[in-house]
Subunit: 272 residues, 2 copies
Amino acid sequence: MDSFIEHHSNSSGLYLKVNKILHSERSKYQEILVFENEFFGKVLVLDNLVMTTTKDEFIYHEMLAHVSLRSHPNPKNILIIGGGDGGTLREVLKYPINKVLLVEIDEKVIEVSKKFFSELSSSFNDKRVEVIIMDAIKWVKNESRKFDVILIDSTDPIKIAEGLISEEFLFNLKKLVFENSIVCMQSESPFYHIDTIRTIYQRFKKIFSNAYIYTAPIPTYPGGYWSFTISFQSLEYPKIRNYYFIEDLKFYHDEMYDAVFKIPKFLKDAIE
Amino acid sequence: MDSFIEHHSNSSGLYLKVNKILHSERSKYQEILVFENEFFGKVLVLDNLVMTTTKDEFIYHEMLAHVSLRSHPNPKNILIIGGGDGGTLREVLKYPINKVLLVEIDEKVIEVSKKFFSELSSSFNDKRVEVIIMDAIKWVKNESRKFDVILIDSTDPIKIAEGLISEEFLFNLKKLVFENSIVCMQSESPFYHIDTIRTIYQRFKKIFSNAYIYTAPIPTYPGGYWSFTISFQSLEYPKIRNYYFIEDLKFYHDEMYDAVFKIPKFLKDAIE
């Protein structure tokens, strides 16, 4: 294998040269592949979909974590669903939180990240972190702790992650939120998955009272452009509610907070 | 040829299946290729770089034209350098302008667009349009008309378009601006061409008094993410200065005007 193509549609995709395969295994849940690419560095692939790369991981992880954590006045207890590479965890831990619980279905993803993506996975060493290896869909049924911020950092919601956008799962998740909790989910590409975005948006609005979409450019994701769906519940609308100082960000800064919610007209029109 | 890869670096790129080659020629200046792709529709390729596709052309053309035209209080005379496909022209003509002059080096691009991209090139039929087929670098030396808005809609500034970012060209272009004219140039990918962006930004600032960068997601351009560099000269800063009603936009809307200037931290840091 000297090249990798992630097919975004039947006729378009991302081409990456494979300089060296670092790891390849079939876990209980998915195919896990790690390879080296000259431009993007190490590339983590799950079921043929690029999850993260050394070069551009900061964008996805900063944008999933910071828009949500900035929106809450005092985030102390955080839940991450998925996120086994540790990148979202790393960003969350930059705040003075008490605890973050990460529920990942596939422990092999954490193992692989620990081996090949230490810049992401060193976050697992933090004492504020608790990890549960379990399907979040089952876990949520018997959990009763509540969280200030919930981040759904899943693979694409097909196959193993499909249930994470089901109404049943989201209703169960609602048991775990306070009235002013933030819930945020990665919600796919505006160019390739508009129906998925609409579904997530509509379900968030129904179950968590309100929903907003924001976007970010991510070069290794389909179309190079990604969406996130967020609910502010009783907090009602996007607003920075804490300005805790964080030094080492490469993408997010507070001036862009309002801006990322100004989504293109075709996307606005498509979700309503 | 059943597939096309645009190489963005030695090891990454855009993969497109070629359903049918519609046109292929070597003009005096470049290789021109048009093919059909299931997802993106018709694809126009110049010297192996995707210039535009039926599906996503609206983003580039709207974002180059409307951010600039919104910024001027009363745009009447417009100059487009390059833009032979007619897409930027189409957007400019949505305003009550008096005249738009388009200076394109390669008449074959206009011919090919007229044949395969009528949704872009029908704009050439408008009576307010004047076309000059000439290298803009030579043309600008002997021109004396002035323009309210100048849009540089070039191919990537390597090879034939390299001179369009030279200080000499920009100094010559300055003869054609009023004190409050807007000058805007497509300025490449923040992920792949940061040195080019910095060069354009610095030269704009030096020659046209000030410069700002804004961005847009464009799935068929390198990294799926594109930059534009704009100078407001005596108008000083980004601001909507006319609200002329335009019905048929798919990407741009006025709520996003300020937002597009909130560029990522790594890009802000890199250009200064």
